[in-house]
């Protein structure tokens, strides 16, 4: 038992560590790790991943919320969209053939890779649109010099539409869909990147939680796999977030993007072989 347990803990620790350093979250790495290295079927990997993503989201959110990076109101509005998608996705996950899931997973990994390469500076807008004003979504953050920067928010419906998609992918594939969420907020709604990342991280708890509850109540979660994976991923993510401020972000991002593309190719190849 101890060899298996140790192996799973190690694998999960590594996935959590890499996920947190790359800013892409544990899910993108733990699902392929379980499928490729531990010979787990997609459904087991997805269930275990969803639960561990809930843990890492909560862990990282502690500091982000306390320090004011998370825009709680934006999160609560957009969570309506992600939770709808996530429940639908998790229910569908049981009916869709694993081959299709592996293929979709590879696609999402490529989207993450593309996203992590094109991350750029913030484009703040001077005025929010009417919905954003009515819902009081705008916020303030400190800039590098400690001055307060005010940001306004636009295009909430477009952001919410993308969030439904992010939710579906999350429930289907067991990932947080962080890259898609950040893109919706940063690109469509013009929310500063750091706020987008912190808010996406916070929302991932609800997205993955909704999927995880479907899997758990359906009895589709293997305790012997999910328990060590949740513990390992959380520990790895904690270590990653400690090291992150001292690391060279650009080099890290490049290395992880290459890893991501390689895994995407491997998952895509598995899907092709399975057809």
């Amino acid at each position: 038992m101890l060899e298996i347990l140790g192996g799973l803990l190690g694998l999960a620790f590594a996935a959590g560590f890499v996920g947190s350093l790359s800013g892409l979250g544990g899910g993108v790495f733990i699902v392929p790790a379980l499928v490729i290295a531990a010979h787990m079927p997609m459904v087991v990997a997805i269930g275990a991943s969803l639960i561990s993503v809930v843990a890492t989201s909560a862990g990282a959110s502690v500091a982000f919320v306390r320090d004011g990076w998370t825009n709680l109101k934006v999160a609560m509005v957009l969570e309506c969209a992600t939770v709808t998608g996530a429940v639908a996705g998790a229910l569908l996950a049981g009916m869709i053939p694993p081959v299709v899931l592996e293929f979709l997973f590879a696609l999402m990994m490529l989207q993450s890779a593309y996203f992590s390469l094109r991350k750029q500076g913030d484009e703040l807008v001077p005025h929010g649109d009417e919905i954003a004003r009515k819902l009081d979504l705008a916020g303030d953050i400190p800039d590098e010099s400690g001055k307060t920067v005010h940001y306004e928010i636009v295009q909430l419906p477009a952001g919410a539409a993308l969030m439904v998609l992010a939710g579906i992918m999350s429930g289907l594939l067991g990932i947080g869909s962080g890259a898609l969420k950040v893109m919706a907020m940063d690109y469509f709604m013009h929310i500063p990147l750091k706020v987008s990342s912190a808010t996406s991280n916070f929302m991932i708890g609800v997205t993955a939680g909704a999927g995880a509850l479907v899997f758990l109540s359906r009895g589709n979660v293997s305790m012997s796999v999910s328990a060590p994976v949740a513990l390992g991923v959380t520990a790895g993510a904690l270590l990653g977030s400690r090291i992150l401020p001292h690391a060279n972000a650009r080099v890290l991002r490049l290395v992880f993007t290459v890893i991501l593309i390689l895994i995407a190719v491997e998952m895509g190849w598995r899907a092709v072989k399975g057809i």
Binding site: N220, M223, A227
Partner: protein
Amino acid sequence: MATIANPGISEEDRILRVWTPILLRTILIVSAIVLVVGLFLMATKSPDNYVTRFHAAQRADFIEPTTFVQLLHLAAAGDPHSVLMVGLFVLTLVPLARVAFSFLLFIRERDFAYVAFTAYVLAGLIAGMLLGSIG
């Protein structure tokens, strides 16, 4: 409807920023303790059962207890597998707990737009649980 002008940080925002992290951290720690205890019990009481279940998972074969009440009884009796399941359930309740907390706060502050948003999210999470157990 929420107020349009909002100079500085509102009272509800301040309460959320203080209590959400405390809530998140507490549940995380509790679930981690339950999971570690469960794995320890598993390693001391029934390591063979663990290996059997690991291999069953590789075949996508889930051997799980039937009802939630039954599960709690088994966990209280120290059945390692049920203790693990309870730990994972507690962990998954983290988001539910923090949304429920915001929902109650928005009711108290009479911020009805956000009462509706958080109520919808709560309903979605609960619907997920119910739909999962039916389907």
